[in-house]
């Protein structure tokens, strides 16, 4: 039946609705630039969601763990073989996302007899020298959103993913109002936590709702901090090694975040 064009469109729409429903409870992930690089941040309860991909590339994912794992391994294999065959300087997030991951995701999404990837990913890349940092959202249908820089627009110094469009939009609004890149890592962590709280609180709300009140946010922040573990990692410009990824331990950053 789906050989008919209308049926095919309908099947795709159903599939999109199904995937969006599956992703809707995904805990947000925020990434932003700070003085010494990029911070990736989320709160979680069970599994790891932030991953090192290559020397200057990191990833965060929400969705089905099996699908995130397949995409993570594909990204690591692609970048590692490229870095080995040529050089670490030839590995780029732009090429990884545009030429390898996006077409595969689109193909899987539109082959309606096969299984799509139930995942939404946030990739970040630490710029070399004066080059700007890249933040790239890659969706289950292969669509890509970057942090800009085209047609003379300024680059945004952040990237987010969340379970719903509304939640991600509210997080972006909050980050646009901040002075970025944050001067210090502590400042970046505080901003990232606030952004996460906004994203988490608006997962279930309507898009027309205003931002939650400061009291509501503070209450939600305290509740979530107490109930979940903090997962954070940085890509550091000052790293002495080619590999810039460093995972931050919960115990190392929690006291600073709880004090606020």
């Amino acid at each position: 039946m789906i050989e008919e064009p209308y049926r095919w469109v309908e099947a795709i729409a159903n599939r999109r609705e199904y995937i969006e429903h599956q992703l809707a409870t995904g805990s947000p992930i925020a990434a932003l630039s700070y003085g010494d690089g990029i911070l990736l941040f989320t709160l979680g309860r069970e599994r790891q969601k932030l991953f090192e991909i290559y020397d200057r590339i990191g990833m965060g994912g929400i969705g089905h763990p099996g699908d995130i794992e397949r995409l993570r391994m594909a990204a690591i294999e692609l970048t590692s073989t490229e870095g080995f065959a040529r050089s670490a300087h030839d590995v780029s997030l732009r090429r990884l996302a545009n030429y390898s991951l996006s077409p595969s995701l689109k193909a899987a999404f539109e082959q309606v007899y096969g299984a799509p990837y139930l995942s939404r990913m946030l990739f970040v890349e630490l710029g070399r020298g004066d080059a700007p940092n890249s933040f790239l959202r890659l969706d289950y249908d292969g669509s890509i959103r970057t942090n800009g820089g085209v047609l003379g627009q300024a680059y945004e110094e952040f990237g987010v993913i969340s379970g719903t469009t509304n939640s991600a939009g509210k997080m972006e609004d909050h980050l646009r109002a901040q002075k970025l890149p944050a001067a210090t890592l502590d400042g970046a962590l505080a901003t990232a936590l606030d952004t996460w709280v906004i994203g988490h609180l608006t997962l279930t709300s309507d898009s027309h709702d205003d931002l939650p009140s400061p009291e509501e946010l503070a209450k939600h922040r305290a509740e979530q901090l107490a109930a979940a573990s903090i997962e954070a990692a940085v890509l550091e410009r000052s790293s002495r090694l080619p590999a810039t990824w460093r995972a931050l331990k919960d115990a190392e950053i929690r006291p600073m975040l709880e004090k606020r």
């Binding site: 790891q48 290559y54 995409l71 391994m73 065959a85």
Partner: protein
């Protein structure tokens, strides 16, 4: 492009970068090329890197190498770096054919990183030591033809046992853990004699020596090797090219600055 299916997590290939390269046809050509020409022996003088040494001292393991690369009786390069950092806490030093050795170091470096990234844990020290052994074994058919012989040293910090460890290999990939010191390359007979003598009858055993004493000993041992072995560079007195000396300990790898080596050399060796 279709994304490749993930290898079964239970497969021993999971996290194995060399296996990934083989699967993609990207593994450095060794065995295949050798099959094509089984009876050919090395027709020309190959570039060789010579004389590396390592020993344990009070502050960890010191690894040193001269800077000369030769082909027959021709000096090819006098600034070769034979002591290579593989990751934050492992060093590989090479004697033999740099073309093969540098490629091995590259595979090794990517293997450790790939394992950490894909498996989300650090490869064990034993795993790292074995990985180099496997690379040497894969190179065996070249070795039998007299091309591409590599005899490396491997030094790493063992976090479990909280000690620095030192290994040396033969060209077939057998690994040996050195108790006190190890040296390979054309100048190694002289170096081993010096280190044996110093360890047994010197002012104190090698493991008791301080860093300043260890550096002097390393420079003197390389100078001794260069005295009789033309393939060992020693110190180029005019060009001010000094050996590479790296120290590995719990805090990681430290490379001694050339100006410090110059000062020590002027005072203690010249």
């Amino acid at each position: 492009m279709e994304l490749q299916a993930v290898r079964e997590p239970a497969s021993p290939d999971a996290g194995d970068f060399a296996a990934l390269l083989r699967q993609r046809g990207m593994y450095p050509a060794t065995a295949a090329a050798a099959h094509a020409a089984p009876s050919v022996t090395a027709p020309f003088a190959q570039t060789q890197a010579t004389t590396i040494l390592a020993f344990k001292f009070a502050g960890g393991v010191l690894v040193a190498g001269d800077r000369r690369a030769t082909a027959g009786n021709v000096v090819v390069y006098d600034r070769a770096d034979k002591v290579l950092e593989i990751d934050t806490h492992s060093l590989m030093a090479i004697a033999g054919v740099p073309a093969t050795a540098w490629e091995m170091a590259r595979v090794l470096e990517h293997s450790f990183q790939f394992y950490r990234r894909s498996q989300l844990q650090e490869m064990s020290l034993e795993g790292k030591v074995r990985a180099l052994s496997k690379l040497l074994r894969d190179n065996l058919s070249f070795v039998l033809q007299g091309v591409g012989v590599v005899v490396p040293l491997f030094a790493a910090y063992d976090f479990e046992a909280a000690v620095s460890r030192l290994y040396f290999y033969d060209a077939m990939g057998a690994q040996f853990e050195a108790a006190d010191y190890a040296a390979t390359g054309s100048g190694s007979p002289a170096v081993r004699s010096v280190l044996y003598y110093e360890n047994a009858w010197g002012s104190k055993p090698l493991v008791k020596r301080r860093e300043s004493e260890a550096v002097i000993l390393a420079l003197r041992a390389l100078d001794t090797a260069a005295e009789t072995d033309t393939a060992t560079g020693g110190v180029d007195r005019r060009g001010l090219v000094y050996p590479i000396i790296k120290i590995i300990s719990k805090t990681g790898i430290r490379t001694l600055a050339e100006k410090d080596l110059a000062r020590i050399f002027q005072r203690e060796v010249k």
